[in-house]
Symmetry: D2
Subunit: 488 residues, 4 copies
């Protein structure tokens, strides 16, 4: 089965009829009609439709080695430089479409499952069945264009239950039983973004607690469809709205976050990728270059987002006739500088890519780690530039229906700009407002800030990745112990 259409995407999600709760009530009808999901699902559907679009199909798909069908390019394990470029071009098409606002654009998880697949060999030694499971699952996703999400992070309380607490009552996610049909798991995961608008979910406690006995029940990895018995999704409040005038971003890009609970869920045995040995779950991540592969997708998203923010900043400056002010120039050039930086980091990751031991080409990690440290710092900085430029224009903004009401003529008269009609001027400020001062914008900022973990986590990842630390220290030691003021 080839790439899917937007219509198929919506149908499959609607048919799953998962156990999902919103503000204390179980959602009964199709998700695609529910206000909390409707806009996002239309956006997502349009992304899938692009794959079938004649203008894009050759850029966005490749021929399945198994079936000959066109399948999504983000599933392609890169074997050479040309593959990396193809992947990037494909991801750029989607990113420019959603302007970088979708953290779970399908290419993100497609890339994730592709990266795990490239390290399947590692599991042979753990359990050949698991290696086989992983390879087959990857092919299944690719051939069926499965929309995936993932569940990694456990609630705070899971840290509180000690490692020896493997009883039923423990809070950390664990395997409670292994039987002929599969494994039964219990536990909860925070922050499955788009958990409800995906078909399947990759489950992967990270980190798993260490354990003192032979088989660590906390160490496992698997993938499941969202509607297995025992699974519950609990939503946060939706920040979306339906009017694209009033809420230009959330009406399109509101990705719901869900808490996913597993209560004695039976995971079919062909869906198990790891079990019982923490070292394999850890190594699977590391040796698949998981972070590096997804960072190549994410930096493409970052670039599209910076372009959008730069366009918005310049539009706001023009609307308010402050383009010539020093501060505007400083900020504009700063954003242009960031854009150059992220493009250069992406290029560098591709140009200096290295082959892994299985022969796949992995983008260089250094430049991508740099991007994952830099973006969480500059994103809030840019948003602040925009809100400061927008000033009180972000506070008093009427909404769509005000323009067509009986008091609308007042708005048309009083809220126009120098060269703009009131409606367009207000639409521009609403966009700045939604980005810089709404709940949708607040969640975006928080999401970008912590995408790769907190600042300390990403710092250690960078430091551990750097090979020439000792070399630099040696250089200094040589420098200070040289008696000769001339070069050495």
């Amino acid at each position: 089965m080839p790439i899917k259409t937007g219509k198929q995407y919506i149908e499959r999600i609607d048919q799953q009829n998962i156990n999902i709760w919103y503000k204390g009530k179980r959602i009964s009808g199709p998700l695609s009609l529910h206000p909390a999901f409707k806009g996002l699902m239309q956006t997502q559907a349009a992304l899938y439709d692009m794959q079938w679009d004649k203008r894009f199909i050759n850029l966005m798909t490749y021929t399945s080695p198994d079936t000959g069908d066109p399948v999504g390019l983000s599933y392609l394990p890169p074997a050479n430089a040309a593959d990396l470029v193809k992947r990037r071009n494909m991801m750029e098409l989607w990113s420019k479409q959603h302007h970088g606002f979708l953290g779970r654009s399908p290419d993100y998880m497609n890339t994730a499952i592709m990266s795990l697949y490239t390290a399947a060999d590692l599991l042979e030694e753990h359990n050949p069945l698991y290696a086989d499971n992983l390879r087959k699952y990857y092919a299944y996703c690719r051939e069926n264009d499965i929309t995936l999400s993932h569940a990694f992070i456990q609630p705070y309380a899971s840290n509180l239950s000690g490692q020896i607490d493997s009883t039923e009552e423990s809070i950390a996610a664990k395997v409670v039983e292994m039987n002929d049909e599969g494994m039964i798991i219990s536990g909860a995961f925070l922050m499955a973004t788009q958990g409800a608008t995906c078909e399947e979910i990759l489950v992967f406690p990270s980190p798993s607690p260490a354990y003192f006995e032979d088989i660590n029940p906390f160490a496992f990895a698997c993938a499941v469809p969202n509607n297995l018995p025992g699974m519950t999704f609990i939503c946060r409040e939706s920040y979306g709205a339906l009017s694209s005038f009033d809420h230009p971003l959330s009406s399109r890009y509101e990705e719901m976050d869900t808490l996913v609970i597993f209560d004695h869920v039976l995971v079919p045995k062909d869906r198990i990728f790891c079990y019982g040995d923490e070292s394999y779950s850890r190594r699977l991540f590391k040796e698949s270059h998981f972070h590096t592969h997804i960072a190549h997708q994410i930096i493409t998203r970052y670039i599209a987002k910076i372009e959008f923010l730069l366009g918005l900043y310049q539009s706001l400056a023009k609307e308010q006739d402050v383009e010539e002010q020093t501060q505007t120039a400083l900020n504009t050039s700063k954003m242009m500088t960031y854009l150059e930086i992220f493009k250069a980091l992406r290029l560098s990751s591709e140009t200096e890519a290295v082959h892994d031991r299985s022969g796949y080409l992995v983008p260089a990690s250094g430049p991508l780690l740099a991007s994952s440290i830099l973006f969480p710092q500059i994103y809030p900085e840019i948003i602040e530039m925009i809100t400061i430029l927008g000033s009180s224009g972000l506070i008093m903004i009427p909404s769509q229906h005000d323009f067509t009401s009986d008091s609308g003529p007042y708005l048309h008269q009083f809220l126009r700009g120098e060269h703009s009609e009131a409606r367009n001027r207000v639409a521009l400020f609403r966009l700045a407002w939604e980005l810089g001062a709404s709940a949708f914008g607040g969640r975006q900022t928080q999401f970008e800030r912590f995408f790769f973990g907190n600042a300390h986590t990403t710092a250690l990842r960078m430091i551990n990745n750097c090979n020439n630390t000792e070399q630099f220290k040696t250089m200094i030691r040589d420098f200070i112990t040289s008696n000769d003021p001339s070069p050495h």
Copy 2:
């Protein structure tokens, strides 16, 4: 008539039945029952009730010189140091009640009208009737405990209509006719915060455009009840909600901003304070020490808000067991430092207060200007500290009804903290979320950032207020031209 009760406050607002529009529809019922106003009006009512509370009445009122009734202390024109302290103590009671979240706590506008009153003499020379109007209006507000708002800032488009454009079609607010009954005005004002939940509105175009003829139609000041014919209020989208669990701040403190439109509104002649001469409207502001008097109220609000934010930061740190981390200590001590600073600035403004030419005691302007420059910088900084500390805990947060639903037990089990129940832990994160990542929080940040104007405006105000600039430059000149390395 003495201070009013909360019940009276609500009744008076509901009875006004003003011409107000929300999302394109005219609001028909009582505002106090409308979701966009209900919580705020209850909060405001509780503030008024405090004045009658036996514990507070002596701290919050004084005896009217006209009627002998207890009237609000924020109406008291300070004559001596003890008056300033009384005023501050009163304002502190209200501030601690609303934790600094109400920009239009009644003492704000009470102080504003009081300050204008202290400069009424200035208007004698302009027009003795206007001086008399202002004095009587002040007494009317004080005796009736009138809830006021103000309308100063005109839409951007008003700058575009040239100064000579005094025709009917001009956009800048102006007097279109002066007759026996009063003056007829047209124009629009942005950002009357709590415009709809007040009884009256002080109208004061600032700045008024200069004008080349004798009588400048753009220069005027007046006060009107909110329900005069020709007045229209247009609301922004409400960021409030009714659940104090889900929306602990906006359920209490959501102050609606309104666009106020005057379409040939007849202002009764006893409500005119200035007309036709831009110099008087400008001087009235300046010589009443308007900014200084209100800044004394505002700094009291700032202090209450910093205390609340400090408490929240420490609570979040404790909940997550990171109190001992270096970054937590640095941030905590920084907030404590800010608290000391604002308290010291307030004390300094009182201790170094000076008498104006009418004998009223005006707080020292320097320390208050410092507070108005500093707070817009530190408020976003503190909010960022809180959101970073809250981390992904601000993203995936369930709501009130989830706890009582059938899936509630999962939440109680998985979302508890080390020493806290899940419900309280989530409530704490919801508070941090609403402050740092919601639309209510976004509007608060923007409001605080621009309360006194943008950074350049407040900078110039400070520089113009500083008298010893030349003295410092002279000190440097003497220093560098002294040949003697020993002191001079």
Copy 3:
């Protein structure tokens, strides 16, 4: 004996003939003629002369309770609010004279020894002789106007020698013998600022290592003249120069830092203040409110320094005709804001002073701790503002003799400003250069940054001083658990 003159100051220092090393050579002649000390000693002498100046003597001295002589006001233990004001006014006179550049202006150590004196009672219980020693030493300093320095901080290596290492070879400073004449100490101390240009030195290992036996040889406190046998002073490189045109600051204010080594130095028994019990040395600091008393002196110095920096910034802006630029206004107003803040904090520390248990009036610690956290942050920020404003004008600056050389006419022609002669213009940039880009300036920045310890140390001091932490956390708990959206 009363306050001393500048001449006496210089004579006493010169006569000490201490064992002091500069760049590997023992200094033989009088320090007051040595280029590394000459300018500073003249500056210091001028400070002492001010005390005898008719204009100042009543403001700078009080009558000794023992002798009736005029003695320095900074020795006065404050008993009431008037004393604090007198002290502040006196310290302000000196601070304005040295523009805040002297970290060891005499009032600093005078205040230090005064503060220890106020806690002498504490030592009664430790050893009545030590209490007596401290009181007599304080009186000796006051009556003889002794110029003091202090030695607290031990070299890094002292941390490496374990606590049980009390042998001769240990690196941490310790008492190696106690005998009838006194105690014999060995050890080294970093950073006795002005160690060589003072008469005596207060020695006080802080913190002392804990120790497992009854008598802790690492715990002691004493004061000694600088020329006891066994004492060695080692200087850093001097950053001073003699031309007040080329080096306007260092020619006056270069305070040499010294490493002080004690090699079996016999401390006379009447100079011992503590010995053998770490708790007393620690408590002496704490219960004398040492940090608070000196912080009152230091904040006065800070204020004088900010005024100088503000004057310089404005002079540079005027010289380059950029006073009207937005960035200039923002920076100028920021510095004015800081000036208001430090003045307000000082006022607050005096207004809210509290009596200690011996009846002395101690300035409020909160505002002073705030100043000690804030200044290390704003000082480098201000210096950066100045260097950025000075731009390349800080790079290519000729020196004094160039103006009088044969090529001098070129300088007069080409380096003049719009309203300034070349010589004065260059002098202004040299001042900015010395502050922002010279070794003297670099050391000042580092000194201010770490005056009270590093950022974590000062943060913990603030947090531990704050009493209402729990109150704020309780406020939050009450807030989130209240069901009522109306105030509580």
Copy 4:
């Protein structure tokens, strides 16, 4: 004549016997023996010697098209990608040798003259002789390995003389006479860095004032040897010293800045590149891609410098045993991030290079402009990290001779580190001190901050270079005017 040796470099400079003044005295002996120049000249000589070193000669030279001699690779006008890589590798060799501290490493000016050469065609239309002069001068520099500096920036006072002031007395540099032998120029230039330790100087008033008559005397460009009659060099104070222990950086890298005065200097006619028409001087810069070509050299210097700073930071952290602290990790990873960024920007500039109209390959300007905006921001930030990490260790540091003096044993005992001898420990802190708190370090920071002009200048350069501004604004307009919440 091929590349020169270090010895030849020194001989040529010494033989010039230029008219140079230091602290008001004309320097008489060889510059290479003068303390202000000695260390730098040795460093520079060593760079030249590298070219003859067998290990490097093939990497650092190419065969002269005219003579077949080996000439410096930085003179090579890049024709293709391989040339760019060769140039970069060559520049990297020198940069790593001087660790990025030399702003006037010979490749800088070699690149400058090469870039002007690539645009010589432009001058054909202006004056074919000038085009010929420029080409020949470039060949002369290349073949003789001439050490060049440049003089662009005029003193502030030159702005004060009006454009019509072309008389003898005007301050702006100008051509005072044109005759058969050449042109006679007068004027002064700030900031010829290494002006005295170069053989020739490129003179290029920038910008030249506009002028209302046909021939603009302020518009000219030329190159002259440093010892023409009428040329005077005035030095700033030297920040260098001779001990590589005490002053590890300035003993090697102190590049003197000079004020260069031209007093009726006759420029030989074959050294004139432009005259009389401001448009050609401006276009020569622009169309030679001057900023872009040199930025490719400078970014290579930046990279070497960041590596040095990173090594120093890590060494200081290790020496003080704080490598594991959170702040250390954050700072270390930040510096690693910057390193990745600059390497990526350089790579990007090479990969996306474009051919100019003469067929030369010009590195992409966007990434290089980004580097020129970013480095002035991060360099002071990194220096601050280092000084804060060094803490009071940067204040009390003894010097070389102290270790060998009679008090040396104390230093060896007390100043050692956990794993380091005192001498090496002190050497490390002296390095940090010289970088972060000395006059040499202060000048480096200022130099880096303003290398490409002030922040506003570099911002406008970036904005003007950016072609897709309109495209981004259009994207926003389309976004907000689209009614469809689904993607567009």
